[in-house]
């Protein structure tokens, strides 16, 4: 347990320090959201209507952008080999790494959401609904994305291949995240899509670490 806690602490520390690059995700998120009014025109009513979709898309792309770093840096300096050979089960170590990655790169996106909601003319209920769905949904993005990150690091390929592999897997999260946000804003039943979103996150907690560990174990040499 202490080993896993140490792993989480180490990863968060590395990500937040100079050269970690976790906060670049938030900056990217901000930029994507700021770009939208230029593309759509500064029509506040339209931005309100598209707000949940814009925020979710921005968060999805931002979390995709930072996924490369999940295993790549550790692979380059050799610490990934130590983790693979270590006494801690690789599945748990992967889960700990993903948790740390979410704390450093996913949680800031959720925290930034209220400020970005203001830019999109969203009221308090809408912003809190979107924030809540992002809080529940971004872990699913990180844990499914981890599978792609593990495949990419074993193949020494990143970038576009990672995006192509991960994006289809994240479509369900996007669908139910946006559906739950819009249900809360429109006053429909918020419970059904939101619980499905929670279920997707829980499923990804189980599948992500196992698949990532399997691909690391079979792929690294």
């Amino acid at each position: 347990m202490t080993a896993l806690a140490a792993l989480v602490r180490r990863d968060v520390k590395i990500a937040l320090r100079v050269g970690g690059g976790a906060l670049i995700g938030v900056l990217f998120f901000l930029t994507v959201v700021v770009l939208m009014p230029f593309a759509l025109g500064p029509d506040l009513a339209l931005l309100t209507r598209l707000g949940p979709a814009i925020l979710w898309l921005g968060a999805l792309l931002a979390s995709l952008l930072t996924l490369d770093r999940l295993f790549m840096a550790d692979h380059e300096d050799g610490s990934l080999d130590l983790i693979v050979m270590g006494r801690v089960p690789l599945e748990l170590a992967c889960a700990a790494k993903a948790l740390a990655h979410w704390l450093a790169a996913g949680l800031p996106l959720v925290i930034a959401t209220p400020a970005l909601g203001l830019l999109l003319n969203l009221d308090a209920t809408s912003t809190s609904a979107i924030g809540l769905t992002l809080l529940v949904g971004t872990p699913a993005l990180t844990f499914t994305g981890m599978i792609g990150a593990a495949l990419a690091v074993t193949l020494h390929r990143g970038g576009l291949l990672l995006a192509v592999l991960v994006l289809p897997l994240s479509i369900p999260v996007l669908i139910f995240g946006v559906a739950a946000s819009e249900a809360a804003i429109g006053g429909f039943s918020f419970g059904a899509p939101f619980t499905i979103l929670c279920a997707l996150s829980l499923i990804s907690f189980v599948i992500g670490p196992f698949a990532a560990a399997a691909s690391l174990r079979h792929g690294l040499d």
Partner: protein
């Protein structure tokens, strides 16, 4: 003759070279019978002649899922038993499966235009099949991105098994959500609701398409084995260059 005997690629090549002409001939005959029966099937009282798209659309849709299932079994063969032909089977199946999925989507959209008034609708069944298509393409991209086939095989196997979660979602999407796509009418509890005049040609076509897949898959596996041999010879030749 067990699955393990087939692990020897040479034995596999000789067996399939004897088997393939028969399979191809049988596929051809069954396709002819199926197409004739489909053409002779009566028009639907509501849909008219467009119902005949079903005889192409439904087998393609079944096969699109079946091929992913075959690839998942092959992925288990790669990861668990390290069967030497499993990754060849998985690699050869991916483009064929992508073709079946594309044809299912294309014929479905041609059928949707006169029946639903739209080529495309973002309902659960159509969306989940589109995701399946994207995953096929991603898998092919993964195979093509890595030079060493055995390395690519293990990565692709993990991705295939993760993608297999999509199969039950596709199958049950019409029951779980209110979709424009009609619910299952052949493979369902309580027997098929389809009339015999449509059911029999459909089943013949499904059998013919399955045999078509088997034929194409075995041929593609042969090609892949031969391609790997050529690659190995070329590598050997290159290493002997002064």
């Amino acid at each position: 003759m067990t699955l393990l005997d087939l692990a020897n690629p040479t034995r596999f090549l000789t067996l399939t070279s004897r088997l393939l002409p028969w399979l191809a001939g049988l596929t051809f005959v069954l396709l002819l019978i199926g197409l004739y029966q489909s053409a002779m099937a009566p028009d639907d009282y509501q849909q008219g002649a467009t119902v005949k798209i079903m005889f192409i659309h439904v087998p393609n849709a079944w096969l699109s899922m079946f091929v992913w299932g075959v690839m998942s079994l092959a992925a288990l063969g790669t990861l668990v038993w390290r069967h030497p032909l499993a990754d060849v089977a998985a690699k050869a199946a991916a483009p064929i499966g992508a073709c079946f999925t594309f044809l299912a989507l294309a014929t479905g959209s041609l059928w949707g235009r006169p029946m639903w008034g739209t080529y495309w609708e973002w309902d659960a069944r159509l969306t989940s099949v589109l995701i399946l298509f994207l995953m096929y393409l991603g898998l092919i991209a993964l195979w093509r991105a890595v030079e060493d086939p055995s390395r690519a095989a293990r990565a692709a196997a993990v991705l295939t098994l993760v993608g297999a979660i999509n199969l039950p979602i596709i199958k049950f999407s019409v029951d779980w959500w209110n979709t424009l796509h009609q619910p299952a009418s052949v493979l369902r509890l309580g027997g098929p609701t389809l009339d015999r005049a449509f059911l029999i040609p459909l089943l013949i076509m499904a059998l013919a398409f399955s045999l078509l897949f088997l034929t194409l898959h075995l041929a593609a596996m042969r090609n892949e084995i031969l391609r790997r041999r050529v690659r190995a010879l070329q590598l050997k030749q290159a290493s002997q260059l002064p």
